[in-house]
Symmetry: D2
Subunit: 336 residues, 4 copies
């Protein structure tokens, strides 16, 4: 940690900082700059010590040096892969998860599953527990939806990824699903992260819509620290002033996360844009930037969808996307 004094700090203030550091069992290392005095503080430093130091008289600001996540860090590690059923995320194949926003009916889900499989998807997505902005919207079929998902897996062989919204439901969802999805609104639902960690199931951790890379990796750290190494990150768009798209897909998150962390990362162009006609170009962009996969909303009849119809692809559009995507995956040194 670095403690930067104000230019006009008194000798007394400098001495107080030094003894404050020492009393905490740390080693202060003073540097006399042209304008200011700066302390390097050596030892294991927690966030509380930082906050306390920032209050001391004569201190301008403090700067952390070490990263607060350890298990999620790339430092000294190879890139990880996560296995979901027989699908490997983070390996040579760019993994495509596709399906409807919400599980609505047996017919809708089974048809969706057949469509996405035929087009080449590797996994089936679909929500049984839907976090909805307002209390009057369709909230999902709950366990009945999970059963339909399991039935679709049995019929197609596609592993299932589905959202879990609350800690007490982790056990139930984990019984049916191959991969637990933690949504953007729950990225900092720490009790949920802990339960997902304890479950040992592969987890797809979406980025909070206004979360920094560091906060995201700290959320992953909660899962990892609870004994579950099977974490895949998902960039799904961040909030901005622009309202034409629902969110801004931060494509640069893909190469940045690959530098900061060993965890695989995929992208969700459907929720990021909120518009079906942007899903195709943003899918290509994400794969070109090095994404390990994509999660895409596909619905047999988007104009009858019970949720997120505006962003769902028709079967024809999804099929076309998968064909073109092949070329970008190859250009990126991947297979599809």
């Amino acid at each position: 940690m670095i403690i930067v004094m104000i230019p006009s700090a008194t000798d007394q203030q400098v001495a107080t900082v030094a003894s404050f550091v020492e009393r905490a069992g740390l080693k202060p290392h003073i540097m006399n700059g042209v304008e200011r005095k700066v302390f390097g503080v050596i030892g294991q430093i927690d966030r509380e010590f930082e906050q306390q130091a920032e209050r001391l008289e004569g201190v301008d600001f403090v700067q952390r040096i070490t990263k607060p996540y350890k298990l999620a860090s790339r430092e000294g590690r190879e890139a990880s892969t996560v296995k979901v059923g027989n699908v490997v995320i983070g390996g040579p194949t760019c993994v495509i998860m596709a399906g409807p926003c919400a599980v609505e009916t047996e017919e809708q889900l089974m048809e969706s599953a057949r469509i996405v499989k035929a087009a080449g998807a590797h996994m089936l997505r679909g929500g049984a527990f839907k976090p909805r902005t307002g209390p009057y919207a369709f909230q999902g079929l709950a366990e009945d939806g999970l059963k339909l998902l399991a039935q679709a897996r049995d019929a197609t062989g596609l592993p299932i990824v589905t959202e879990v919204k609350t800690p007490s439901a982790v056990e139930l969802v984990a019984r049916y699903a191959d991969m637990l999805q933690i949504g953007t609104r729950n990225m900092q639902n720490y009790d949920l992260l802990i339960e997902a960690g304890k479950s040992g199931k592969p987890v797809l951790l979406k980025r909070g819509m206004s979360s920094t890379y560091e906060e995201w990796l700290l959320a992953a750290e909660y899962i990892l620290a609870n004994g579950n190494p099977n974490v895949v990150l998902c960039e799904r768009g961040i909030r901005s002033f622009e309202q034409y798209t629902r969110n801004v897909l931060d494509v640069a998150a893909i190469p940045v996360i690959k530098r900061l962390s060993h965890l695989p990362i995929i992208a969700d162009p459907s929720h990021a844009t909120g518009k079906w006609h942007l899903v195709e170009p943003m899918s290509y962009a994400a794969v070109a930037a090095g994404a390990d996969g994509l999660i895409i909303e596909v619905h047999p009849n988007p104009d009858k969808a019970w949720s997120d119809g505006a962003q769902s692809l028709t079967p024809e559009n999804f099929s076309k996307l998968m064909q073109n995507l092949q070329k970008f995956a190859i250009a990126a040194g991947r297979t599809l």
Copy 2:
């Protein structure tokens, strides 16, 4: 709802939209503008219909007319008050909740309670369950913390507000606390909102750090729709590009919410700014803008605090703030 066609929409596309609207049991009302055709759609419209309509060929965009929250709306209602113990929020008194970020020890909490009471605070705050960005930070004393809070209430008579993080803990926290706090990271934790609604306890609902006013009022709607009218909103700062302060306290949220909703609203200058020296001016600003109260972090020894030391006031600073605040409260037509 309004459906706006593109200027080049064909007669066929216009006819398709009209019949789509009619099939949904709604009444299309066409207007021929100079450049475009526009449909007014009359009837009860849900979000799914909007999304579906937006996909139709020839449609440029759709615009919702009605507000999606009903119970939280100001329309046709007087401003509400919420009673917590013997304290009334939303009435003539500007209600001050104060205390440490986290409950640490019996001594620390009891001393905090005495300090804030002596300075004139109306309620005691303190966290027993702490949502922390990283898994290695102090996570709170849990039920032991709740017991200390109850003990502090008994000693001082101050009602207690404390955070609940997860649906399954609502019953436990409600047993000890006078008011449940739902934090910024949990504003869209819908299962938690539902449980808080069912509990009937007064709820302090903090704004999500990147939530719009509408999303915030929809979160309140979840609580109200589950039978609990005792909701108080709390503006606590939003995310921006500026990093000097932790967040940007959106002071305008106070008069805006008072226009859109009948619910009381308070402000949290401590978390918004993250710096103790900004708590004082931002407290004055919030009260001047019409806030029904404030929630402020005070710690007997901020430079030894186990969390958020940088933003906690010393007893002396809090006492000074309370004295000056009196003048601003009176200017705003309130008492303290």
Copy 3:
């Protein structure tokens, strides 16, 4: 335009709005919704009328229907191409502009020009007038820099793109350059836009770092409305809460702009990210999303650059990027 009344609007208020509309020579078209009355207003409406209408008693909000830009709109138009020297932007070739952030010396610029040409770039970039955040940083070589750019063009045949910061310098810069660049900080420098419009020279218009798509297209409209059809847009990253990268490259801007406007659009991965190691993946992403070109900072010795060294590519890295980019350009149906 749509005028939405509050649910409790009185008949008198509704009548006042109707006569207000009529007095402006417009036709009010009333719809009686379930909850509210809504006016469709037919005729040519300006921003002032909207603002005035929003103030009337009983009005909840107004919604514009038509887009405020006309010449920049895609409506009824094919995609445009812009010719710069012998280079066509917006056609089958993905156009690469490359070179140093700032023109520093004859040797540095000539070497840069040879390097980028050898690697396959189509145009040379380099700043002679540098907008710098602080007054004490290197501000560019001014006309001497322009002369060096012209010399580099003569030596390599590459057309030159360079920034102009102020209206009075447009004539000077246009004398040397093949394309005028208007930077992010000047996107709403309207006098500059007007002069650039009058010059008739091709203009590269960067997006303001917190500008919406509409504001950006309105800035282009200023140039177009002053008689200059040769406008190319450049997405260069927007401001967000994330500080790891300098800005967030909004890759979705590429397909969105292609839908809203006929103007070509390129991307600037160097300024968007601020880090050289992100330039490569973001270049691939932009081209995959359909960009008509890229503008990339390359410096013979980035660790000696007088500005923006952290984001400049070495000759080796640029050459590698160009080779890989070929594959993505082909996948996107382009040539390089």
Copy 4:
């Protein structure tokens, strides 16, 4: 400056950094942390050196220690006052500048001037050169507007503040105005800042709508460094995801700037909110937070205003605001 190495940095990389620092004439000061090596670099360091250092192999990141603005800094200075005519900004009086968004006609301006003077305003505002988002909106009366402003000053004795948009107009505007306003879109129009600096006239420098405090103070530094000490800052709202208000008035900017800089700071609640009914509470908030003044839009007939009608106060509302504001000014230790 601090240079932080990655944990796995080799001895060779550390040695290279050390010699890189020394070759620049600076002194490297190495600290061996638990996990990493960190260099303190002592000497006068420019932004270019930082960028170059960030590229070196084995470097994780660099951290600047000193602030890049010197003349604008509070360090070692008392708070400044700026005199405009006989009005002192930054002293005991909270200075109110009021008037219409744009100068429209002689009658409108003279009436506005009389109104705001009668209500107690200290200065008259009004735009003769209007920066408008689109090219088809009213752009101001130019010099004719300036003449009317001068006439209004002669009639009322109120000093005039009016916007200048472009460097070449500084001389003209300075001939008529008492204070030059530089708008949010021009905060980083460096040529304009330089001319405003050379003019010596008092300057009202609005914050760029997505500018950090540091960028804002660096913009002020441009004016100061060109020999003009008469700079007043104006917080006028920043961009966010919330669309109900035009911008978010960052009230905390007021106490933050007072800590970082000696320059006076006022607030513009009209442009920040875009809604007349929010001007009153936000005026109170800004003064409560310590603002040295306010700039407020007032129009004799806002529902006939040629620009920004939605945010202008009527004479009655302005008069009421001024009466109530008195109480808040007194509470803040000011007079009005």
